[in-house]
């Protein structure tokens, strides 16, 4: 059965089960997202994709809300945008450094006109792990969106990554927080591919970006125990 919804004044026909976010894509209406990745099941954690739906008392997350027939959706709604902007601002306030311009977080902040945070104060501790030949952790950039954990589970099926800590200390870890190589990681890199902040990224892309990165030892034979950079 197909449903008709109106997004920003444009009617569009969608199949049952389509989310508001998917419908918005059909009419090229931009909805900001942080925790969403097409390859993963919708998660609805970040609250950046809020939109107004006629008759709803408050903004709804576009990624997890299924369309209903005759729904009228406004992606430009001022309240929703204020929520999204505040979320991005709060997320940025926790980071000790601004995310690199190519990251999804930086691009969304840019598009939402979030330049500085009104909430200075505590930021994440810097914690780098460059022991894996390809994959790097930059824990201070983690915003706990869960995309890497879900990529590991739903795209690769390695179940190597997990969320750790609580509240402000929330972060990600491979296995029992002993690094990628000592977990069930298969080095597919789906986590680095989906990460919106470069909290997990490719080592080669850090050349010239992280100046204190030690050269990686390249000896052969036996299990290597490489030093942690600055934990």
């Amino acid at each position: 059965m197909s449903l008709t919804v109106t997004i920003d004044g444009t009617p569009v026909e969608v199949a049952e089960g389509t989310t508001i976010l998917e419908a918005a894509k059909l009419v090229d209406a931009w909805v900001p997202t942080l925790c969403f990745d097409e390859r993963e099941a919708p998660f609805g954690a970040c609250r950046v994709c809020m939109v107004a739906v006629e008759g709803a008392p408050k903004p709804l997350p576009a990624c997890t809300t299924p369309c209903r027939d005759e729904m009228v959706i406004d992606t430009h709604d001022a309240t929703s945008r204020r929520v999204a902007t505040a979320v991005v601002e709060l997320v940025l306030s926790e980071l000790p450094v601004a995310p690199e311009p190519h990251t999804e977080l930086a691009q969304i902040a840019d598009r939402l006109d979030v330049t500085a945070s009104r909430w200075p104060g505590a930021t994440h501790d810097v914690g780098h792990d460059f022991r894996h030949p390809y994959l790097a952790f930059q824990h201070e950039l983690c915003i706990s969106c869960g995309r890497c954990v879900r990529a590991c589970d739903e795209v690769q099926g390695a179940f190597a990554l997990t969320a750790t800590g609580r509240g402000f200390e929330s972060n990600i870890a491979a296995g029992l927080n002993a690094g990628f190589e000592d977990s069930s990681c298969v080095s597919c890199g789906a986590c680095a591919d989906t990460c919106p902040t470069d909290a997990i990224t490719e080592i080669t892309l850090l050349d010239g970006v992280v100046p204190d990165r030690p050269p990686r030892p390249r000896e052969r034979g036996g299990r290597k125990r490489r030093s942690l950079a600055s934990e």
């Binding site: 311009p101 390809y134 597919c188 591919d193 080669t204």
Partner: protein
């Protein structure tokens, strides 16, 4: 590319992965002439925005310091740097001399399943038109040639009947002799996700592969007994009435003989042969037979046997008797090993066929190519790879042109291969690195890797996909296509192409099955052959009829026969060889990347009981000896393997795993029997694994 991306990368090119047969579409990001990063293409039909550590990370080999960057020629027993002119002159004068003295059949060429369709097409044209012989083969000979042979016999076409997306629609998937999470990681991930969503997996493998943990049933047959297992499954399907009578009657032929053969393969009889408990075999047959949709997937664990091609025919028969072929979710998917092992054979780099498997002794086909190329062509079927080695030792084959294949590491019975290569008067290697084979070469030509060339690959779903260069070949290296065209021109046969796309157009013009293929039409998401002239392709084959004369599928009444090797008192264990996730075949590429930091050696996997009996501890160096050779490996004790079996990989040349493999091979296609080798394993550690206690020590 956005402004921000332009800051990070000079260019981003969408291409197709050059590792395994899955055919992931990749975005290759380059800066200052080097690949800095590779990410998966979101619209890749085979990978859907995912890729594995080989496709994504193992690209540093392209700028490895050992890359061949100038031609080498042998002088006084040593290879020395030479100019292109000198190297090409040497090739032309030697090949001409040998052709004049001994005839064209004294020369043979190998095309590469790692290279593009256009490279392979050019290579077979060089050998057929410029040299004048059908002595051309490619490495599918040693992996899926039995699949190709059998699927042509049973169904008509040499390729998977469906697509990887059929896995998402299958109620049951039966994996036999294939370990996708290691060998085909992106398909492995797809199967795992399907299993997590409820697709029932049945895994049939002597080793307990990772996917067995996600399946409903794992059967561990003795290596070499697949035929009995498939016949046993068919027996139960037939006995329980799980057959699709209408499908058998309307779409197939030869069922009566097949049905008659099945009588003998009761689960109890199969248990006797394969070691699989009868009840488990029954359960597997019920799972497959009762499923609404079920797909069969297999790999080299089926093909690399003495009767590998017959087992594939039996698998086809099993699918036909249940009507599970040519439907969404019911596909037969052979997981092809290399990126273009499908394409290199499709392009006619085989001793008996032109493009699309049309025989060289078929008069109209030969005429078609004679007319197109303007030369007379041989009607005599050429040497297969193993026959080339035998002919070289017998003195009948004098020269070889080996392009992109390390035969002295990957082919069976290395000692025999070495003797063959030493017997040759002249050998050319066209390679990206020096390897075991170049040690015997008289001329080595520096060629290019998949990130440095343009063309197309055909993946395991029969899908033509574009390959576009993101970086240039290093130093004096040239693209394979250019090298082959130049050699051909100097031998007096002008191919008349400028770019690989011209070669692709010629293939399309001369091959009805690929008639609609062109660079533009292949585009971002590929085309699955047969491609009709209007450009429409074929994701699913045989939904209406089979591609044989008469349109019916053929049952094969082939009984189980014992494998070519069997354990005995002297060689009590059975060795099976395979790949690991981190490395790729001969390891030429992956050993030169960070993947070597993840896995830096071949291991011998052995069951704890065997290890204890042989006084082997985890990590000990052991000697492993077969009827034809011996080597040394470090042991890894694991209960993923059955008692009586050992397993190893063949990625590191220092191991020389293939010294152990004998010359037993598939009866129809000469594909070597890599998967059943009787061996003897003993500890050789300097410090014995078990040291007797000294008296007086607590």
């Amino acid at each position: 590319m956005s402004a921000i991306e332009a800051d990070r990368f000079d260019k981003t090119v969408t291409t197709t992965c050059g590792y395994c047969g899955v055919g992931c579409r990749l975005e290759a990001h380059a800066r200052q002439g080097r690949i800095v990063s590779i990410s998966p293409a979101e619209d890749g039909p085979a990978n859907e925005g995912h890729t594995c550590l080989k496709g994504r990370f193992a690209h540093q080999f392209t700028r490895s310091r050992d890359r061949l960057t100038s031609p080498l020629i042998r002088e006084n027993g040593e290879l020395r740097v030479a100019s292109w002119d000198e190297a090409l002159q040497r090739i032309v004068s030697e090949l001409t001399r040998i052709k004049d003295a001994h005839g064209p059949d004294a020369i043979a060429g190998l095309a590469s399943s790692r290279a593009t369709n256009e490279d392979c097409y050019a290579m077979q044209r060089l050998i057929r038109a410029a040299i004048g012989t059908n002595n051309i083969d490619n490495c599918s000979r040693v992996c899926h040639s039995p699949t190709s042979f059998a699927m042509r016999k049973s169904f008509g076409l040499s390729g998977a009947t469906g697509s990887f997306s059929d896995i998402d629609h299958a109620d049951v998937a039966v994996l036999i002799g294939v370990n996708p999470t290691q060998g085909h990681p992106v398909v492995g991930a797809r199967i795992k996700q399907a299993a997590l969503r409820g697709c029932k997996l049945v895994t049939i493998d002597p080793r307990r592969i990772e996917l067995a943990d996600y399946g409903v049933l794992h059967l561990a047959p003795r290596p070499g007994t697949n035929a009995a297992v498939v016949l046993g499954l068919s027996h139960v399907v037939q006995r329980e009435g799980l057959t699709d009578e209408a499908f058998i009657a309307e779409r197939t032929e030869g069922y009566e003989a097949f049905e008659e053969l099945l009588d003998a393969y009761t689960p109890e009889a199969v248990q006797e042969i394969s070691g699989i408990p009868a009840a488990e075999l029954e359960r597997a047959a019920h799972l497959y037979g009762e499923a609404g949709t079920a797909s069969l997937l297999w790999g080299l664990g089926v093909t690399e046997h003495k009767y590998g091609s017959e087992v594939v025919q039996l698998l086809c028969s099993l699918a036909m008797m249940t009507g599970k072929v040519g439907k969404r979710g019911s596909a037969l998917l052979p997981l092809r090993g290399q990126n273009n092992v499908q394409g290199s054979s499709d392009m006619g780099a085989l001793p008996d066929t032109y493009t699309a498997y049309r025989r060289v002794d078929d008069e109209p086909t030969a005429r078609l190519f004679e007319e197109a190329w303007g030369v007379g062509l041989s009607r005599r079927v050429g040497y297969k790879i193993p026959e080339m080695f035998d002919a070289a030792i017998a003195g009948e084959l004098k020269a070889m042109y080996v392009f992109g294949e390390d035969i002295a590491q990957t082919d069976p019975d290395i000692a025999h291969v070495q003797r063959a290569l030493e017997s040759l008067e002249f050998m050319v290697c066209q390679e990206i690195f020096e390897n075991e084979t170049t040690k015997y070469a008289d001329v080595v030509l520096p060629a290019s890797a998949f990130l440095e060339k343009c063309g197309t690959f055909v993946n395991a779903e029969r899908r033509f996909q574009l390959v576009e260069a993101s970086i240039d070949p290093p130093g004096g290296a040239r693209t394979d296509f250019e090298i082959i065209m130049t050699v051909s021109r100097m031998l007096g046969h002008e191919m008349g192409w400028e770019t690989p796309w011209d070669a692709l157009d010629e293939v399309a013009r001369l091959t009805p099955h690929y008639a609609g293929v062109s660079r533009e039409r292949v585009g971002r998401t590929g085309l699955q052959w047969p491609v009709r002239p209007d450009g429409s392709d074929s994701p699913t084959l045989y939904d209406q009829y089979f591609d044989r004369t008469g349109g019916r599928g053929a049952f094969a009444a082939l009984p189980y026969k014992a494998p070519g090797d069997a354990p005995d008192r002297e060689f009590p264990l059975v060795l099976v060889t395979g790949r690991v996730l981190q490395h790729y075949n001969a390891g030429t590429m992956t050993r030169r990347t960070g993947n070597a930091d993840l896995v830096d050696r071949d291991w011998l996997e052995i069951h704890p009981d065997d290890a204890e009996r042989l006084w082997i501890s985890d990590g000990d160096t052991v000697s492993i000896r077969s009827r034809v050779g011996a080597t040394e490996l470090d042991a890894r004790i694991t209960d993923r393997i059955e008692r009586g079996h050992v397993f190893t990989t063949f990625h590191f040349p220092e191991t020389r795993t293939n010294l152990l493999i004998g010359q037993s091979s598939d009866v129809n296609t000469s594909c070597p029997e890599y998967k059943v080798v009787a061996v003897d394993v003993r500890p050789i550690a300097e410090q014995p694994a078990f040291t007797p206690q000294l008296t007086g020590v607590a």
